[in-house]
Structures are given as C-alpha cells and as structure tokens.
C-alpha cells in the first residue's frame, strides 16, 4: 500500500523532537509510526501520520523543514522469517531499498515501511 510519510529535519538540540511532537499534537495529527536516526549533528525524523498534508503544513508554519514523500507499507505475517523471506524476494527482483522501519502489529500480521524507487516492482511481487 502506498502511503505518505513526513520527514522533518532536526538539528541536535535539546527539546527539538519534543517541539515537533507538540506541533502535531496541537493540530490533532496522530502518529502511527516513527523512525529517528541521527548523525552527530542532525537527525531526520520520519513519521507516518493520519493527516500527512496537515501535519506537514503545521510544521512548516512553525519553521521546521518538513517534506511529504511516498513510502510503501507492506504487510507480512507475524512469524519467524517473514521479513527475511520478503527481503529475499525483493533482492531477487532487484529492488533497491533506501531505508525501512517497522509500523505495528495487528495480531497475525505486522507491517514494515519501505522507502524505494521501485514501488511498482514491490507491489507486483506482493500480489503474487
């Protein structure tokens, strides 16, 4: 499933992440998943929210660098080896993954968020 992700630039300064979260809260934007990796100087916060356009707009108004981009949400079985199996399939098809992180668990299934330029390929593979 194609979905929208907001990326926010965060310089390594105390309280910066908290500021992002409170802007989203004040605008009633709900976070479904989040990934934050950082270098020594700055980080990129990537979030999946229920209202990406609103969230991004609110953040920009508050002076954050924010950008909405497309990512894929792929559902897999919640069992040992499922992710590994998926990766093998994607690798075989030559899909280049830029980054990925986990979404959530719903009983039998789990989801991963995948950023790639080869959306179509992945979607075709998942249909099989």
């Amino acid at each position: 499933m194609l979905s929208k992700q907001i990326s926010v630039f965060i310089e390594n300064r105390e309280g910066r992440l908290g500021e992002v979260l409170s802007v989203l809260r004040e605008n009633g934007v709900n976070i479904l998943s989040l990934s934050l990796a950082d270098t020594s100087d700055y980080g990129l916060l990537r979030i999946i929210v229920d209202k990406p356009e609103e969230g991004s707009k609110a953040l920009k108004e508050k002076g954050f660098s924010a950008k909405v981009s497309d990512v894929l949400i792929v559902e897999i079985n919640h069992e040992v080896g499922a992710l590994s199996h998926l990766m093998e399939k994607l690798a075989k098809a030559g899909v280049n993954i830029e980054y990925m992180y986990g979404l959530s668990l719903h009983g039998e299934t789990a989801s991963v968020i995948i950023k790639t330029k080869d959306y179509q390929k992945v979607q075709e593979i998942m249909k099989k």
Binding site: Q5, F9, I10, E11, R16, Y42, F64, K115
Partner: protein
C-alpha cells in the same frame, strides 16, 4: 535623474574645487584643532606646503583611535554653540565616536544623500519607508532628510515590529525601502509568514540599501524575494565622515559614485600607508573637504575597495568605488589565511538548497583554528545522503574560494538570529586574535 550639476563637472573643474576646499580645510584644522596642529608639526608639515592635490599625501592620517583619544569634542573645529546636531556611533569597545554638525554641515549632508537617493531612483512621488534605527545612529536621519529634500513622503518606521512595518508598507503603498540588505531579507520573510504576496500586494520598486556591505549574491537574493523589477542599490558612508551620503550606486550598478566635491578618496596599502596606483585594491582613506564641525583629514575607513575613474553611462563624472570586499576590521585570519565574511556569504548564497542567513563561528582547539558555518536548510529532503551532498558542496566550494576546510552545520529554517541593523554574523571565540 542627476540631482546636482556638480556631479557632471569635468575632472579639471572638479579638481579646482577640491583644491580650494582642501586648502581651506587644512588651514582651518591647523588654526582651530590643536590635535591636528600638533600632528602636522610632528610630521613637519605646514598648511603652506600643500601646493597641489597630490600634496594631500604629505598629511598624517586620522584614525578612529584619534577620535577616541579626543573624546568627545577634541577634533571639532567650531565652537560648541555652532553645533546644531550631535550623533555618536555605538562603540562596541571603549568610548563611542562623536560627530557634530553645524547648520551648513546638515545642509551638505542632506545634499549628499539627495544625490545618492536620486541614483537609487528616488523621486518626489515616492513613499519612502526608512527601516533604519532612529537615534544616535546617523543612517536613519541621513536618509530621512535627503529623501524629504527630494520631496518624497517619509515613513519613519525605524526598526523592529516587522509585522507592523509590512502593514505600513501595504497600506501606505510604500514605493522605496531604506534598510540594511539583511533586514530587507528579513522583512520579506515576515511578509511571507503573514501571507502577504510581496510581488503582488506591495509596491516597493526601489531598495536603497546601506550600512552593511551587499555582495552580488545578496542582491540576487533580494531580487528573488522582492522582485526582479526592483532597483536594488547600495550606498556607503560612515558616521565619522558624515553618515550615509559618501557614495552610492547609480542605476548601472557598477560601483558607487563618490561625492568628490565633498570627499577626496585615496587608496592605501593598509600595512605601509603608501598610496596605491589608481585601480589597485586597498584601504579607502577619505578627506572631508567641506565640513565645518568635524573636518577629518585622511580618515582611515578600514574598508577595502578600489577606485575607478572611467566615465559612467549615467553621465556622472564622479569616480566610483567598487562594492566593498570587506572591512579590514572584519577580516578573519584563520589558520593563517585571510578570510572575509563576504566570501563565505557568496558561497552560501550560491547554493539553492540553503537559506540566506548564516553564522560563522571560529574556535581554537589546541593550536588549530576551526571554522564552522551554520546555515539554514531551505529545501527539505528525506535522505541523509542528500544532506551530506549539500554539506559537501558548500565545503568544497569554500575550499576553492578560501583554501580552508570548514565544518558545515545545517540547521532548521528561522533558527539563526535575524538582524535589523548591521548583521553580526561572525562569532570569533578564539581567546586571542
């Protein structure tokens, strides 16, 4: 429009006026200012030794330190009751420098600024908003009287309260903006954050900018936000010499015409004090030849530029000074390399992913100087490699220009400090310099 006939005098006619005025000035300071007389005696010079304009070179220099040493009125050539105005520059260290004006001095100042404003396109029909701080600083009142003299309507909005500034600009239909280049950019940011479409809703068509140097890249940045059809000119002056009005750019934007009937410029080697041949770059030295209260002789401005005397397309014959490359004061010595903040600015403004605001931080670790540039990220990306690419691009361009490695720190938009007056973008945290 050319404001004064004097601006088109032939070199011969001009030099005649300059020489007469120079002789008057030298006689006056010798008679009335003991500090100057002592300096001239020490240098073995009498006023009668000045037989041509070239003999100006024989006179000793005046520096900011001389003004401090004689604080407040020691260099004044008139009695205090002749003064009608006193300004002072905010000295960050030590005593401020004090400048005084007689009635005639104020008229001269107004005349000089009217000329410069005309070069920047000012007309009677303009509504001119002056976003310079009013007060002891000479910038605001200088432009105020000069523009009023042309017949333009003045909005003395001063600095601060940028949202109200934009409101005035919109409601009064301001056509001419007076500000520092960095405040002009700041005002544009504020207008956008208020949802005001600058190019459609505001009527500013002339930006007469001064009080800090404007690089070509900065001018481009200003065009981007204020519109390509705005005439953006820079002008030059300093309170010691009079305030704004020493020189300004005409519509051809190729150097600033110096009001040579009031100021004689020279370019010297800042180290040796030798006068350099025409066309060479060095420190600008100015002699004020028509001032009553504070006629400075060979004042060392510490500004680095060069002069050129070719005829300008605008018809003015006054020589031009190149847009400043920096102040010898502002020059940083980093790992033995001379660095002007303007060089760094040119690089940053040339990278489209970055905003125009920046901060230069110099520190020392052990015996090594570290240069850090903090700059705002304008174009967001969701990939680290993209951020790295931007940092590397800035770094390698700086390396080409300066020959130095710098740490590039990307920060969020609107997080670096904004300035209403002169921007202070350099933080030199090394204990000694």
């Amino acid at each position: 429009m050319i404001w004064s006939k004097n601006e088109t005098l032939s070199r011969e006619e001009l030099e005649k006026i300059q020489f007469e005025r120079l002789i008057d000035t030298v006689n006056t300071v010798y008679e009335k200012v003991p500090y100057y007389r002592d300096k001239m005696i020490e240098a073995g010079i009498k006023p009668s030794d000045i037989k041509s304009l070239k003999d100006l070179q024989k006179l000793p220099f005046t520096t900011k330190q001389d003004m401090r040493d004689t604080y407040p009125f020691g260099l004044f050539a008139v009695d205090k009751d002749e003064l009608v105005r006193i300004h002072a520059s905010s000295g960050t260290t030590g005593k401020p420098t004090v400048v005084g004006y007689t009635k005639r001095d104020l008229d001269t100042w107004t005349e000089c600024v009217s000329r410069i404003a005309c070069m920047g396109g000012a007309e009677k029909s303009d509504v001119s908003q002056i976003c310079f701080g009013y007060g002891m600083f000479t910038g605001a009142l200088g432009l105020h009287y000069g523009l009023e003299n042309i017949g333009s309507a003045i909005v003395p909005s001063s600095t601060g309260n940028s949202e109200k500034q934009i409101m005035y600009m919109k409601d009064f239909e301001t056509t001419l903006l007076v500000a520092t280049p960095s405040y002009a950019l700041r005002l544009a940011e504020v207008a956008s954050s208020m949802g005001v479409d600058i190019k459609k809703e505001l009527k500013v068509k002339k930006a007469v900018l001064g009080s800090e140097l404007m690089t070509d890249a900065m001018r481009e940045e200003i065009h981007k936000v204020w519109g390509d059809d705005v005439l953006v000119t820079s002008n030059y002056g300093m309170s010691e010499l009079m305030g704004p009005g020493v020189s300004g750019e005409c519509e051809y934007l190729d150097g600033m015409h110096i009001n040579e009937d009031f100021f004689i410029p020279e370019i010297i080697d800042p180290k040796t004090g030798e006068v350099l041949p025409i066309g060479e770059k060095g420190e600008l030295v100015i002699t004020c030849i028509f001032k009553e209260a504070l006629p400075l002789i060979r004042y060392r401005t510490k500004d680095i530029t060069r002069l050129f005397y070719e005829k300008c397309k605008c018809g003015r014959t006054f020589c031009r000074m190149e847009n400043l490359s920096g102040r010898s004061d502002d020059m940083l010595k980093i790992r033995g390399v001379n660095v002007f903040p303007s060089q760094i600015e040119e690089v940053i403004l040339g990278v489209s992913e970055l905003g125009p605001h920046y901060e230069i931080v110099v520190t020392r670790e052990g015996y090594t100087d570290k240069l850090e540039i903090r700059v705002e990220l304008k174009e967001m990306t969701d990939e680290y490699k993209e951020l790295e690419r931007i940092s590397k691009k800035v770094n390698s361009r700086l390396k080409t220009v300066l020959g130095l490695d710098a740490k590039i720190s990307l920060v969020s938009p609107n997080t670096l400090q904004r300035f209403e007056g002169k921007a202070k973008r350099v933080k030199d945290l090394r204990g000694d310099k």
